[in-house]
């Protein structure tokens, strides 16, 4: 009997506990002593390899005092200068690069030129560093208090509280190694979202399934957000739902704008990496597939099977990321993914041209002195069209996470630019009625 008991224990601890990990062990190198294979993968997130629409390219630059990085990712503004017109008047029009591996997150945030043009708040730090230790310290053990304190600081003060990119402690319970949510913004956000779905009082660390957690740990950061109120509280706008229209409705309700568009004077919004939201509308999510299934697939290391902690584009690792579920060859799977992405990319280009036409027309109308009242409707359509377009543009899978949804959003964006033009020229819509005898929508 003891025998079986011992074996069970052993089975559950297939590693050597070299060091004791506590809730205050932030440094991943220490965790790596117990879990060298995972740590090895984690360190490999410095690799930079480009895929057709993802990965990243290592671009050399001359280090300066204000920015000591000698390698950065390619500039998205150079790749597509139309982005500058879309974001005119906002920090993103100054510097915006392709995102790269987790290892760079802290440096890339610290040294982006967006820091030079705007005084950024401490809230930025939540998603670019191992912040759990900082929360505990600043809140005297209460992470919600620590979170509030961090948000209120100016960026460079908050920056001093952290020293690692996202680390083991941000996703794992150090005693059981179970996944754990450490971000107050996500706890609050997912609770509000679940409430909108009729699930009351959702406590993510108590109520989520293991499979949900395999996506939720990523949803801590790969989401749309804004800074609420003067406290700059990092907030996920999910109380109406996760779809683009739910999020826009929320921003309209709370009358939030990110900036005033320089050319048109419209109150506009910037969407940012809504991977979790977009993925949630796709068939993979519906079929119970999680972020970790594709971005951290199991990999065999000797006699053990572990999660690949080299988080990266699955298209660089199709064999493990896709082929266990899809019995098609690598080239075929790559083709399927890229066909989805190319369709999205082409629609994104059309939608961006359309948006620029609208921006142009509003600007002209403004320049010839048409009163604000006459521009209000068109400006609101710009806000809509731009947010919809940016929701796909800023989402980093180029449509793969939810192919039909991404294209739908771009189509609606173009419809908003159309309505914006009509508002400017005074053309009234003919119909807005739904057809009679419509099947009810589910």
């Amino acid at each position: 009997l003891t025998n079986i008991f011992e074996r069970k224990l052993e089975g559950k601890n297939p590693f050597f506990r070299v060091v004791e990990l506590t809730d205050d062990t932030v440094d991943p190198e220490i965790w790596g002593k117990n879990f060298p294979l995972q740590y090895d993968g984690y360190k490999r997130t410095v690799d930079q390899v480009r895929t057709r629409y993802g990965g990243s390219e290592a671009v050399h630059k001359t280090p300066k005092d204000s920015d000591p990085r000698s390698i950065v990712a390619q500039s998205r503004l150079e790749e597509d200068p139309r982005l500058k017109a879309m974001w005119d008047g906002y920090a993103f029009a100054v510097d915006f690069r392709e995102e790269r591996g987790h290892a760079f997150m802290l440096d890339d945030q610290t040294f982006t030129e967006r820091q030079d043009v705007v005084k950024q708040p401490g809230s930025c730090v939540n998603c670019h560093a191992s912040a759990y230790g900082a929360y505990k310290k600043l809140g005297n053990g209460d992470i919600f208090k620590g979170f509030d304190a961090l948000n209120k600081m100016p960026y460079f003060e908050a920056r001093k509280e952290v020293s690692h990119p996202v680390s083991c402690i941000d996703c794992h319970d150090p005693l059981t190694m179970a996944l754990r949510i450490t971000r107050p913004a996500f706890m609050t956000g997912i609770k509000a979202f679940k409430a909108s779905q009729g699930v009351k009082d959702f406590d993510v660390n108590r109520d989520a399934t293991r499979q949900e957690m395999r996506s939720f740990v990523c949803g801590q950061c790969h989401v749309e957000y804004y800074f609420k109120g003067p406290e700059k509280t990092l907030t996920y706008p999910w109380q109406n739902g996760l779809k683009v229209e739910n999020i826009l409705a929320y921003y309209d309700e709370v009358k939030h704008k990110d900036w005033v568009h320089k050319r048109t004077g419209a109150d506009v919004l910037k969407a940012q990496h809504p991977e979790f939201e977009m993925f949630s509308q796709g068939i993979h999510s519906r079929a119970g597939v999680a972020c970790a299934d594709c971005h951290m697939p199991y990999t065999r290391e000797g006699a053990m099977k572990i999660s690949d902690h080299h988080v990266r584009s699955p298209l660089l690792n199709i064999n493990q990321s896709c082929q266990t579920c899809h019995k098609a060859d690598e080239n075929e799977l790559k083709f399927r993914a890229e066909a989805i992405q190319t369709r999205t990319f082409e629609m994104r280009n059309l939608a961006m041209d359309a948006l620029l036409d609208l921006i142009n027309e509003i600007q002209k109308a403004k320049d010839v002195g048409r009163p604000d009242a006459e521009l209000a409707a068109a400006r609101d359509y710009q806000r809509k069209a731009q947010f919809y377009l940016d929701f796909v543009e800023a989402e980093n899978s180029m449509g793969f996470h939810a192919p039909a949804e991404a294209v739908r959003i771009l189509g609606e964006s173009m419809n908003f630019t159309r309505m914006g033009l009509m508002a400017l020229t005074g053309v009234q819509p003919t119909h807005t009625a739904k057809p009679a005898g419509n099947p009810a929508t589910p």
Binding site: P14, T176, A178, R210, M304, K305, I306, K327
Partner: protein
């Protein structure tokens, strides 16, 4: 050893037969079928035995093409890995399969039931526990087993 197994089998059948009588003639016929249609072939470990029913042909054909054809037979995955459980499961499944086969009113395509799914999942762990210990160990807090077939659905028989 062999005779003990057989006794166990007979006992199971007897038990089921009694239940059957209570339910009615239908079950009696099912039991007859169990014998007639070589339902007793359930007690063998030979995969061919399962293919005795043409209904199982698809899985049999799929199994022959699968990665496990040389390493696991039907019973390795579809019966528990302890003797009693094994024959209890076989007898009960064998009985019900015969019953459904005769009366022809089961869901098609055939779907694995919750209990039998657990048996299959446990069988993966039985053979692969060492390899997968590292991924199954850390689940304190929420005591959920990770599902193997979520990713490895087609290992037993290509669908």
């Amino acid at each position: 050893m062999l005779s003990r197994k057989l006794r166990l089998v007979n006992l199971q059948i007897l038990k089921l037969a009694l239940v059957g009588l209570a339910i009615g003639a239908a079950v009696g016929i099912g039991l007859f079928t169990f014998v007639y249609a070589k339902g007793y072939s359930y007690m063998s470990n030979d995969a061919v035995a399962c293919a005795n029913c043409h209904i199982m042909n698809e899985q049999y054909a799929g199994w022959q093409k699968s990665s496990h054809r040389a390493v696991a037979t039907c019973n390795d995955c579809h019966t528990p890995h302890d003797t009693i459980g094994k024959y209890a499961t076989k007898a009960s499944n064998g009985f019900w399969h015969s019953y459904y086969f005769t009366f022809n009113n089961f869901h098609e395509p055939i779907q694995i039931s919750g209990k039998n799914l657990q048996v299959a999942e446990a069988s993966c762990r039985h053979c692969h526990s060492e390899l997968t210990a590292s991924i199954t160990a850390h689940r304190a807090g929420r005591d959920e087993e990770i599902s193997c077939i979520r990713c490895h659905r087609s290992v037993g028989h290509m669908h």
